[in-house]
């Protein structure tokens, strides 16, 4: 009875939140309403829709032993309590994606992005995570690629793998670009982030040699040293002798990250990657909790309008109209194909009882969506003038603070003279103008919220804390991503020349790492050199690739449903699949062929060529720009081609099974009675 009242109250709270968002016109509303609408919707969706998925569609069975129970080895197959695993899984899926995407999409106003984040997760993102987790759990923890191969055929399996590798390259490039833009000309940030490397190595030796296996105490020690480095960064930035040696251009920082990625990929895991992973998990969970508390304590008003005029495609941060680009820009947080890799990796091997998959798969993704809503709040509490001054490319803003104020006034927002400089001084930076990528504006938003909640006067410290936290786990993604990309490349290359496939052969490791690093490093460097800032072209490419991976995952999910005799429920995956395909193919097509040179890669190449002909652009620079435009166009087309092939081969398989030309055989592991039942 009490529970029912609780669920009804949650539903009413959600309705109240949305009602306020819908009815508020022309005056600023409080961030609390956004949070209330989101949380209310999550609770209702969890109670009703995830229950339907769990018991009607998937028929989760508490009497059926999970892989963790059957294959338990207390190393990777470990039966784990559901709340613990929820935390573990959430820490694995949430990264920079849900934080950066919403901040960029705030150029359309806070409302379109928020609606997509909340309803997208309920009907698409959480469904994808849940069905892949379920499928993998029923198949002894098999990966997405293996499931695609076994359920749909070897061609689909190979395509899925190529798609994952290509997405990884774009993902790493764009995330590294976000860090580069946050750290350029910032001695404080560079010093703090550089310190994470010796700290991680120290932790590595601590856990490996000095106190073997004592990971927790090593990590706590690491976090304390990290906070020390954060405070030390201010001292470095203020020192006239030290600051210059930590002040670097974007290009230098980009090459530094590339070198770091290579070294991290060939070093033993325990030395750098594993300790960094622990460090960033600590920071991630701690900071997200802090942000939630901050928003609840401060309850800041949203200064960004609900909807801006940029929905017509004239936005300065990235080009393109509301549909499809709001849905591409926010990938993580609403639906992220990348999660399918995590949901078919470590987590399914740790589920104790089958019904727990509901909280972990569906609930874990709701939690990530909530992080995205908080990021949206952090962006929307900033003055729109400040927000656009930080995020728009310098060329668009007009090159200087004074010109930027003029440009921003032209967009209908205000930026007082000296306002951006004063803010920069307040957070301990030389300039905040045009620091595209989302990380700096998110850090300013978080600093505003934190200093409101936990004491004024520490703005600079909070800003750099937020930068450090973002850079830390982006660099952890760079480590782990390069390594995973290296394994995939070795597996693919092994088909061509078998010795390259041996992961234990050192020359192969070095070669494969170099190939992967060169791949994302190329896009990163081009992004840094791009006069429009790089985010404008790379972030949409990342969004498109991530959601195309989601459509691969939803295809695999649909195949699983059809083969297990659940064809009547097939809409639970086909509905999001149709939407995601519509969004990504529209966006992909526009990015390649649109006539507007700000939007279409090919028309931008044409305009650049015309500028050379007119003598207004140096031919060497133009040649590079044109080559990159064409390369980006090819990449976008290749993503669309691979996805089309996966969809077509999957649909063929569905048809064959539904028409009974092929037996409906799903390769689930056999039923074994669980001891945890009852």
């Amino acid at each position: 009875m009490l529970r029912t009242i609780g669920w009804i109250a949650a539903g009413l709270a959600g309705v109240a939140g949305w009602a306020v968002l819908a009815l508020q016109r022309g005056e600023s509303i409080n961030a609390a309403w956004l949070v209330l609408a989101a949380v209310g919707t999550y609770l209702v969706a969890y109670r009703i829709y995830s229950r339907f998925l769990a018991y009607r569609v998937f028929e989760l069975d508490e009497r059926r032993a999970t892989p963790a129970e059957r294959l338990g080895n207390s190393r990777d197959f470990v039966p784990t309590g559901r709340w613990v695993l929820f935390g573990h899984h959430f820490a694995a899926i949430a990264g920079a994606g849900p934080l950066v995407g919403p901040v960029l999409a705030a150029q359309f106003g806070y409302l379109p992005g928020t609606i997509w984040i909340v309803f997208g997760v309920v009907l698409a993102g959480a469904v994808q995570d849940f069905i892949i987790l379920f499928g993998s759990m029923r198949r002894d923890g098999k990966s997405l690629g293996q499931m695609a191969k076994e359920e749909t055929g070897p061609v689909t399996g190979l395509l899925a793998m190529v798609a994952v590798l290509a997405i990884m390259v774009i993902l790493l490039a764009v995330l590294a670009l976000v860090v580069t833009n946050a750290l350029k000309d910032s001695p404080w940030g560079v010093f703090t982030i550089l310190c994470t490397i010796p700290i991680a190595i120290l932790m590595g030796f601590w856990m490996k040699a000095w106190r073997p296996g004592h990971t927790l105490e090593a990590s706590i020690g690491g976090v304390l040293l990290l906070l020390l480095a954060l405070v030390g960064g201010r001292w470095v930035a203020e020192s006239a002798t030290l600051a210059p040696s930590f002040t670097h251009s974007g290009l230098t920082i980009a090459y530094g990250i590339i070198g770091y990625g290579f070294v991290a990929s060939v070093l033993p895991v325990w030395m750098l990657l594993c300790p960094r992973d622990y460090l960033s998990t600590f920071m991630k969970i701690g900071t997200i909790v802090l942000l939630a508390v901050g928003i609840l304590v401060v309850m800041p008003p949203l200064r960004m309008p609900a909807v801006t005029s940029f929905i017509d495609g004239t936005g300065p941060i990235f080009a393109g109209t509301l549909f499809p680009f709001a849905f591409i820009t926010i990938a993580c947080g609403a639906i992220s194909g990348f999660h399918a890799l995590v949901a078919s990796g470590t987590t399914p091997k740790m589920i104790r009882r089958e019904p727990d998959a509901r909280l972990i798969g569906y609930g874990g993704m709701l939690m990530e969506s909530f992080v995205a809503v908080m990021a949206m709040c952090a962006a929307a509490v900033l003055d729109p003038g400040i927000y656009f001054a930080i995020n728009a490319p310098l060329a668009t803003l007009g090159g200087s603070a004074a010109a930027a104020a003029e440009t921003i006034r032209g967009w209908g927002f205000t930026l007082a003279p000296g306002q951006i400089e004063a803010l920069a001084a307040q957070v301990g930076e030389k300039t905040l103008l045009s620091r595209a990528g989302g990380a700096p504006s998110l850090a300013v938003g978080m600093a505003v919220i934190f200093s409101g909640a936990f004491g004024q006067g520490l703005m600079a410290l909070w800003y750099h804390f937020a930068i450090m936290f973002e850079a830390l786990f982006i660099l952890t993604t760079v480590d782990t991503g390069t390594r995973v990309g290296r394994f995939m490349f070795q597996e693919l290359a092994g088909h061509v020349w078998p010795p390259l496939g041996r992961t234990s052969w050192y020359p192969s490791t070095v070669f494969a790492s170099a190939v992967v690093v060169a791949g994302w490093g190329y896009f990163l460097v081009q992004g840094v050199l791009d006069p429009l800032g790089g985010i404008n072209s790379l972030w949409p490419l990342f969004g498109i690739s991530n959601q195309l991976l989601a459509s691969v995952a939803l295809c695999v999910g649909t195949t699983i449903l059809i083969k297990t005799g659940k064809a009547r429920y097939v809409w639970v995956t086909l509905l999001p699949l149709t939407w995601v395909l519509a969004v990504t193919f529209t966006a992909g097509w526009q990015k390649v062929f649109a006539a507007d040179p700000r939007l279409g890669f090919l028309s931008h190449a044409r305009v650049t060529a015309e500028q050379v002909a007119a003598g207004s652009l140096a031919p060497a620079l133009a040649a590079r720009l044109i080559f990159n435009d064409r390369l980006d166009a090819v990449v976008a087309l290749a993503f669309m081609l691979v996805t089309s092939l996966v969809v077509v081969t999957s649909a063929w398989e569905w048809l064959m099974v539904l028409r009974r030309r092929k037996p409906a055989v799903a390769r689930e592991a056999p039923f074994v009675e669980s001891v945890y039942a009852g």
């Binding site: 190393r75 073997p212 927790l216 990590s219």
Partner: protein, 71 residues
């Protein structure tokens, strides 16, 4: 939340041990005590690894293949 099996009345020490295991699991860290318990119960004849051997094996299994972290 359900516990991890049949439980007797808890002492302070065992509650602390359980909290420690929980934290290790959330952060994806190796749990040596749980591994030894598992080996003693399930494979009584097998020799126990040292803490360092277990740590090496755990790191290999965890970062061996597939992404462990998302974007």
């Amino acid at each position: 939340m359900r516990g991890n099996g049949p439980e007797q009345t808890e002492t302070g020490a065992s509650r602390r041990a359980r909290l420690y295991s929980t934290v290790l699991a959330v952060f994806g860290m190796p749990d040596y005590a749980a591994h030894c318990r598992h080996l003693r119960e399930q494979h009584p004849g097998r020799p126990l690894p040292t803490e360092r051997e277990f740590f090496d094996e755990f790191v290999r299994a965890r970062y061996g293949d597939g992404p462990t972290r998302c974007c």
